[in-house]
Amino acid sequence: MIAILDYKMGNLRSVENALKRLGAEFTVTDDADVIRSADKVLMPGVGNAAEAMENLRSASLVDVVRSLRRPVLGICVGMQVMCRHSEEGDVDCLNLFDARVKRFEPSADLKVPHMGWNTIGNLESKLFKGIDGGEYVYFVHSYYPELCSDTIATSCHGVMFSAALKYENFYGTQFHPEKSGDVGERIIENFLRL
């Protein structure tokens, strides 16, 4: 069973629909026992990193997530809270990925939020099996995880940043695979096959 972590950070429907389209069985839950016993855990998230950390804390899920040993995929803010620290609300996060999350600085040539389709490269994980560098995926974010030793995909918006991260069984994508067309569907499928 796949668990979609419900910690009140935005609508989960897109992720649910992506799993449905792939024929996967899942449950949406904030129950620690269900999460611990799941084969895979998905942690989506739209919104504010500090609020996301607060919600994880108040649901007593911080240690639960950190102790998971099966594959976990954080998406967007779900990934950012798995990093060391976020500038958004100046909050210490789960410290699974060795990256800090910083804000894009808008300039004449740089729109913030980084919104739309951008290419990913330097792909280094089974998560990207069958996907070539240079494929486009869909991003919507104003904060980004810096490059670090856990980076398994990069993208560029004014600066190079981590489009995906991996540490042991923990994976994260800054982009939205559930909104990234066929490429995104393949990434989710690859995650389910880990």
Binding site: G10, N11, R13, S14, N17, A18, K20, R21, V46, G47, N48, P106, A108, K111, V112, P113, H114, M115, G116, W117, N118, Y136, Y138, F139, V140, H141, S142, C156, H157, H176, E178, K179, S180, G181, D182, G184, E185
Partner: protein
């Protein structure tokens, strides 16, 4: 670099898409999900569904439809039309919309932008501005399909919308909409220079060259079009190939 986006716009009335020819490989061009999937296959980067229903029943049908769209489409989509309260926005978010577009309601009640953005994030809020160049040389935001000028001037209103939390501006020139004579690119460029959020250009595209111009000279981040796609004059895929040949960064 983030690619320039091409966004087909689908009008929905009483739960059915209106306008549009019978594409050869579609069973039912009036089915919003099927038409959306067709555009997604062709390479559309996002979709906009605009509810033009006049009745309350039509609006309820639209919410059901948004659920089906969310089930069946794997690219982002925006919904607009008749959204005037936080509750409307919440209902459409729950139905699976990635973004909502607000227009007249934001002019009547600008704090609607703040409340939706604060609750669901800026990425969820597109502020649509239908502006008309008046005789005194001022671009004025209009309501009710362009028929009523408001007290909002385009540039200051767009900036205000950004400050209140809009994630994108969808700008339509009512002087150009439906004329197929191209976009007011200088105005688009001035708007882009004043804003830090993305701008979607709408209304006026008659050719690939028009779209190319607004994405380069006009500095728009995305182009939204309806009739050139619906009437099968050019496919989304062919348009993007043409843009790519013109060295415009598009996903294809």
């Amino acid at each position: 670099m983030v690619a320039k986006r091409i966004i087909p716009c689908l009008d929905v009335k009483e739960g059915r898409t209106v306008k549009g020819v019978n594409f050869v490989d579609l069973r039912d061009v009036g089915d919003a999900v099927e038409l959306g999937q067709y555009y997604a296959r062709c390479g559309a980067d996002e979709l906009v569904y605009l509810d033009i229903s006049a009745t309350r029943e039509g609006r309820q049908t639209f919410t059901k439809l948004v659920e089906r769209i969310s089930d069946g489409i794997n690219i982002p989509f925006t919904v607009g039309g008749g959204i005037s309260t936080l509750e409307d926005a919440a209902r459409l978010l729950d139905a699976g919309a990635d973004k909502i577009s607000i227009n007249s309601a934001a002019i009547a009640n600008p704090s609607l932008i703040d409340s939706i953005a604060a609750r669901y994030g800026s990425q969820f809020v597109v502020v649509a501005i239908d502006a008309r160049l008046m005789d005194d040389g001022v671009w004025r935001a209009t309501t009710h399909g362009g028929s009523r000028p408001s007290d909002k001037e385009l540039f200051s209103w767009a900036q205000e919308a950004q400050e209140r939390g809009a994630g994108e501006i969808l700008f339509t020139s009512m002087n150009h909409d439906g004329t197929r004579s191209g976009y007011p690119c200088e105005t688009f460029a001035r708007l882009a220079d004043r804003l830090s959020i993305p701008i979607i250009a709408s209304g006026g595209a008659g050719s690939v060259a028009d779209i190319a111009e607004v994405l380069t000279v006009g500095k728009a981040d995305a182009a939204l079009a309806a009739s050139i796609f619906h009437f099968g004059e050019i496919t989304v895929g062919d348009l993007k190939q043409e843009l790519k040949r013109l060295n415009i960064d598009v996903r294809c």
